[in-house]
């Protein structure tokens, strides 16, 4: 047989470049801004636009790891509860005498542990879907928050704590800087590292990933831990913005976070997605909220809008990508991989 030369060229086409989801998002972003400035003359003020980011960037931290979670083919509805629990523990810890920096560290430790527990359950009990695991922990984590703080508020933080959410370095809000750094880090992690490659592989074909030697358990635990860590960041910035916390903070955050990821073009089928989309979606939804708030539209209306955006995005993504690949029930996947359910992956 003759020797064939195989090229290493990557197919590139201008048409494909422009037909991408992110351009659609840019269009939507522009539309949102146009609508908002139509609604209120106060909208198009650069200073307040930048300043208003602190109202939605706190949940933006969660969007970054949630992108990984959905690319993996999983979901995590416990993130809001993790935020609440870690915020509550931080507040209670501080009020019990812990120095504030230590309390903040405690917040991050607690949130990461919450994430790790999720990961542990998913890895040790592969028969359980991510839905049921995070549904249970969603209830448990917030439940613990209620046990600790009941219906009280806790706060009285040192004045410098509000710098997190309200401070700026020059013209740029601190929270925006921190978010930008995190976004960059997660983006690089997803698209440029071997870890990111593993995430995509697993989301695409979990069995083949295992057979190729990828430690799927480790990846799941790592992603869960990252999710927990970022929930801690959200807790820090949210609490800083509000000045106090109670067990029912961040209610409904999971909806908005998932909506942002899906609106960002990441299909719930798993295995595909780019970090840019969800980041754009954060600002779309964030500014939409801000603009509507300027004309006193109630929070309930926003719920309706976000819920609709979530469903619409999934609809469009499914139509475009031919419907979701229904993930096999975890036990079937295990059996397909020839394992007894309690074996390590």
């Amino acid at each position: 047989m003759s020797e064939r030369e195989i090229s290493i060229d990557r197919p590139r086409s201008l048409k494909r470049f422009f037909f991408q989801w992110e351009w659609l998002l840019v269009l939507i972003f522009v539309a949102v801004n146009i609508i908002n400035s139509g609604l209120s003359p106060y909208y198009l003020n650069f200073g307040s636009l930048i300043g208003s980011t602190n109202s939605f960037l706190d949940m933006a931290f969660l969007v970054l790891p949630m992108t990984f979670v959905i690319i993996l083919g999983n979901i995590d509805i416990s993130v809001a509860s993790t935020v609440a629990l870690s915020a509550v523990i931080m507040a209670v810890g501080f009020n019990a005498g812990l120095p504030m920096p230590l309390a903040m560290l405690l917040c991050l430790v607690v949130s990461t542990l919450c994430g790790l527990f999720n990961g542990f359950l998913m890895v040790k009990f592969k028969e359980l879907s991510a839905v049921i695991v995070t549904l249970s922990t969603m209830i448990i984590y917030r439940g613990i928050a209620y046990v600790i703080l009941e219906d009280q508020a806790a706060g009285h933080f040192p004045p410098w704590f509000s710098f997190l959410a309200w401070g700026s370095i020059g013209p740029v809000p601190f929270i925006l800087i921190v978010f930008a750094v995190c976004a960059l880090a997660f983006g690089l992690l997803l698209h440029k590292t071997s870890f990111g490659r593993k995430v995509f592989a697993m989301g695409n074909n979990l069995t083949a990933a295992r057979y190729s030697g990828i430690k799927t358990d480790s990846v799941i635990i790592a992603v869960s831990a990252l999710t927990g860590l970022m929930a801690g960041f959200t807790a820090l910035f949210l609490t800083s913005r509000m000045g106090s916390t109670r067990p029912n903070v961040a209610l409904g955050y999971e909806l908005s976070v998932i909506a942002m990821v899906v609106l960002g073009g990441v299909s719930t089928a798993g295995g595909a997605g780019r970090i840019g989309g969800p980041i754009l979606a954060i600002f779309i939804i964030g500014y939409l909220n801000y603009g509507l708030g300027l004309v006193n539209i109630k929070a309930n209306v926003l719920l309706i809008i976000i819920g609709s955006l979530l469903i619409l995005s999934v609809l469009v993504l499914n139509l475009r990508f031919g419907g979701h690949r229904r993930p096999a029930p975890p036990i079937a996947r295990m059996i397909a991989a020839g394992k007894a359910p309690d074996e390590k992956a």
Binding site: M1, E3, R4, E5, I6, S7, I8, D9, R10, P11, K192, T193, S194, F195, R197, K198, A201, N204, N205, T207, A208, A209, R210, Y211, S212, G213, I214, K215, G271, A272, A336, A337, G338, K339, A340, E343, K344, A345
Partner: protein, 508 residues
């Protein structure tokens, strides 16, 4: 009056970019068992999907009993009396056998809308008895073995009063004894007037059951012959278009020291007390009937599952692979049985697939080096002569044989000592088979120890240096290939109850 029950004329079916069927014709006579053969990609499965209504042809006619019919979906096909039994049984694992048989046409009481359970189970029991089943109608489907589930499938076809039954590679997952049962059932169906289309890669299936055989090649109809009027070589020529003389390339390889040793490996419910060894440059064939436990042993060595007891030694050092990553790191590679589900990420390109097991090699501190990936993929793909234009071609667009080569390439990115190939030529057309055998020889010559799991006797005898035969979870025989014969191997592979027959065959 014509005795042709089903006829297809000038059927063409195109998918974007590929013509799956090109003006093919096919005729099925009443009450015959008709074998349909051809390489993979020749169009057999597509034809079946057209007959069963999963696809609609772009042009052409389907005639049933001489009259044109239009089959717009699987339901139409079922109503016309056509049933299909596939290799992988699709069933409802949580429902009972009786429900699985009758789902879709349950008997209900029109007033209460209730199901007549007693009648349902009675009818099911009747069908099962006529098929000599060893389980009852109340058994939960998910708890049955593959062979038992196939019997339920056949019962389903019978209950639907099918006149045409299509069997697509039905013996692939069965043991020899179960295959015998299936042959008997097929003959029984034929005697009852059912016409059968039988697809199989196994020539012995065809010779045993069919009266006529049709060959497809490259989406075209090649010809139909009476089974006793066409020789094996002529058949292969018809399927491949060229005569394969040198199917098993001769080789001379120097065999070195022991590189893999398995001692007393056991896993409850799967295999027990398995021991064998492989030397450098040696090809060890692991054969036996399907279900003997060969894949399970390999997966235990490779770290996908964990053995309960026993030891594995790689180049003298004990290996306890708790995960495939450990096995790969120590030097054992595994080409899995199901290349689509276990071996490849179909949506990805060749390069990305090839580098997946050894990402660390292509990254520094985690940062991926695309260039290095592409170059290595190019090197390996060219070495293995993968038929592709670019390393960025999606593996889903490759043929079975080329996909298999990509998986082998995956294993060559690391430093391997032993390579285990599980059914490397399953579902691969004859031309690509030869290429894969060449690759195996080259690997052996390069000093790898090779374990080849195979159910194809010619392959086992033609490629290996030594043979390990497994039977129902245990090693029943180990022999040098030079001393082996088909009968010896089959004898070792078959269950004790049948060895009497084997002895008779030997003496005859």
């Amino acid at each position: 009056m014509s005795d042709i029950i089903l006829e297809l004329r000038e059927i063409t079916k195109t998918f974007p970019g590929v013509r799956a069927l090109d003006g093919v014709g096919f005729q099925l006579k009443k009450g015959e068992i008709h074998a349909l053969m051809g390489e993979n990609g020749a169009g057999k499965s597509t034809l079946i999907k057209v007959i069963t209504g999963v696809y609609q042809p772009d042009s052409g006619q389907i005639l049933l009993d001489g009259k044109p019919v239009s089959i717009r979906g699987p339901l139409d096909s079922q109503r016309l009396g056509i049933a299909a039994i596939y290799q992988h049984v699709t069933c409802y694992p949580d429902l009972s056998v009786a429900e699985n048989i009758f789902i879709g046409h349950e008997k209900i009481n029109p007033i209460t809308r209730g199901i007549h359970w007693k009648e349902l189970h009675a009818q099911a029991a009747e069908l099962l008895e006529s098929l000599d089943a060893d389980f009852d109608s109340k058994a939960i489907m998910g708890n049955l073995s593959v062979a038992q589930q196939q019997i339920v499938e056949i019962a389903k076809a019978l209950s639907a009063k099918a006149r045409i039954v299509i069997m697509d590679e039905p013996t692939a997952p069965l043991t020899k004894r179960e295959s015998e049962d299936l042959y008997r059932i097929a003959e029984g169906l034929r005697d009852r007037g059912v016409s059968i289309i039988f697809i199989s890669h196994r020539l012995e299936d065809m010779y045993r059951l069919a009266s006529r055989v049709t060959v497809f090649r490259d989406s075209r109809f090649v010809g139909t012959w009476a089974v006793d009027k066409i020789s094996r070589d002529e058949l292969i020529v018809a399927m491949v278009g060229r005569s394969i003389t040198q199917l098993f390339p001769k080789r001379k390889v120097s065999i070195g020291e022991e590189v893999l040793k398995v001692e007393g490996l056991s896993r409850t419910g799967y295999f027990k007390d398995v021991s064998f060894s492989v030397r450098k440059g040696e090809i060890l064939a692991m054969t036996g009937l399907v279900g003997a436990g060969r894949t399970e042993v390999c997966e235990a060595i490779y770290g996908i599952t964990r053995a309960d007891s026993g030891r594995v030694f790689l180049a003298g050092k004990e290996l306890r692979a708790a995960h495939p990553s450990e096995a790969l790191a120590k030097g054992i590679g595994y080409l899995p049985e199901d290349r689509l589900k276990q071996g490849l990420v179909l949506e990805w390109a060749i390069a990305a697939n090839v580098t997946l097991p050894s990402l660390a090699q292509f990254s520094s501190f985690g940062w991926m080096n695309r260039r290095r990936e592409e170059l290595k993929a190019k090197e390996l793909a060219e070495k293995l002569q993968v038929k592709a234009n670019s390393v960025h071609d999606l593996v889903a667009t490759l043929s079975g044989g080329n996909q298999q080569k990509v998986i082998v390439a995956k294993l060559l990115t690391g430093d391997m000592k032993v390579i285990i190939l599980d059914e490397p030529t399953k579902g691969v057309d004859v031309g690509a088979k030869a290429a894969i055998f060449e690759i195996m020889n080259e690997l052996a010559a390069a000093g790898y120890g090779i374990v080849m799991v195979s159910s194809e006797m010619p392959e086992v005898l033609g490629m290996s240096d030594r043979i390990v035969v497994m039977r129902e979870g245990r090693v029943s025989a180990t022999m040098d290939t030079a001393d082996a014969t088909q009968e010896k191997i089959l004898g070792a592979a078959m269950a004790a109850a049948r060895t009497a027959d084997a002895a008779v065959t030997e003496q005859a």
